[in-house]
Symmetry: C2
Subunit: 273 residues, 2 copies
């Protein structure tokens, strides 16, 4: 089953647009977990088990595992294997922000899609469609292109004007019109920029948009939902990482994570249509 169908099915089943970001920074885990054999994996497993019926996707960010080298990356692999085995109907987006020239991207596609079995990966647009072919050709997998990122300095390049139109809009247009030949593309637009999000939604129709930046980064939920969903109230993947997974650093971290996920889901659903 392709990424978009999988996303649509689980969105309906779980009545949810919430994506939980598994940014499981080893230094921020609850202290009582640190003596476990695989703290990052034990932590993820516990978070996943209490939220799997409340989300539309999971999004581990590769950087928090790579920080620990080979050891860290092996915890990412354990997490992915666990998700694939226990919750195969929940799509997993590997937030790895890769992109290189064509023949090199084959290596990254193997890492994300075949080794980790991710359903989608985030990629940089800078090298263009031609370079991204090894990702775009995988019709069964999602390719989520950075468009307007959530960070404060995003505008430095993304707002540069090309014929009176900012770069991020050009990218949204190119992706919608040319890169999406397999119907497997998505875009990243930060919740911290609801006006830009609304414009991108108008450009791309019902393409999935991954929206990080609610929670710890301060994005407003009402504005995000109203700007981000498609005409059927679907295809917005609204991600919270720290706001959910680090809601408590005590032994009650799973309960708190579940509470925060339910809270975010309800708040989002209030504004969905």
């Amino acid at each position: 089953m392709d990424f978009k169908t999988k996303l649509s099915n689980i969105t309906k089943k779980n009545n949810s647009l919430v994506c939980v970001g598994l940014d499981s920074d080893l230094n921020k885990l609850p202290p009582h977990l640190k003596s476990a054999k695989n703290p990052q994996f034990e932590f993820n497993k516990a978070i996943i088990d209490v939220t799997a019926d409340l989300v539309c996707a999971y999004k581990p960010n590769s950087a928090f595992y790579e920080a620990g080298g080979v050891e860290g990356i092996s915890k990412l692999k354990l997490t992915m294997d666990y998700l694939k085995e226990k919750y195969p109907d929940v799509p997993v987006i590997l937030d790895a922000k890769r992109a290189d020239i064509g023949n090199t991207n084959e290596g990254y596609a193997k890492f994300a899609y075949d080794y980790l079995r991710a359903d989608a990966i985030t990629v940089h647009p800078y090298l263009g469609k031609e370079a991204l072919k090894p990702f775009l050709d995988r019709a069964d997998k999602g390719v989520i292109v950075l468009c307007r990122t959530s960070n404060p300095g995003a505008g430095e390049l993304q707002d540069l004007q090309i014929d009176g139109k900012p770069l991020y809009q050009m990218i949204a247009q190119n992706v919608a019109e040319a890169w999406n030949y397999n119907g497997n593309c998505g875009l990243v637009v930060g919740a911290t920029y609801p006006i830009e999000l609304e414009i991108v939604r108008r450009i791309v129709g019902d393409m999935p948009i991954l929206i990080p930046g609610v929670g710890a980064q301060g994005g407003d939920v009402e504005k995000t939902v109203k700007a981000g969903v498609d005409k059927d109230g679907m295809n917005a993947i609204i991600n919270s990482s720290r706001g959910i997974i680090f809601a408590s650093s005590g032994p009650d971290f799973t309960e708190k994570a579940k509470e925060e996920t339910i809270k975010l889901r309800e708040e989002i659903n209030k504004f969905r249509r």
Copy 2:
């Protein structure tokens, strides 16, 4: 010692602008090595030992190791450790093309600079200077920003005109004027685009430019050198990967790699000033 000084020292010592790209795709290794315990590492070690006095840098591309998952990445680690131990004066550029928002980039900086002990890393510019702070703040380490990449489709976004100037030139300018506050920045410009290379060199003065694309990708050496070096014939890091490391797939692969490295070094030096 910082990246730029290290690069300058070894360029003089080895009288070389050649960077050998350790793109050691497991499927392309000489067949007789495949029974070794760590084929990718044994291969790299052999290549390094015959070229270390002929180069100004090594550049392993992370994708070719990530393709093998945790196993593959452990071979990258072995290679980095070997380089650091046996040839500490040769700078190593991790070609990983990373970039995320600020707090996430800390994880990638740890992976590249602390875990793998790379002297420099390649990064995407799209999120802007603010996001790249965890890299830019490491004054001892190099941050090599994608500017005009070597792939055929590079122009799709990189040539978009902003006030009559292409995006890649805006990026060169921003990096030279604002991102380089620690003097640790460099740029990537493909040898396949010598005209663009010449323009970038004029914008950035003596900033190191990493130039992939000679050899298998077809970049012309004379044009590359004339356009790429600074006024002292320095600070161009001219990379060949496949053209050197896969010059032969027989048991003579080290001799052939050495021959190709010498040939490229001589050809480059003919045009250096």
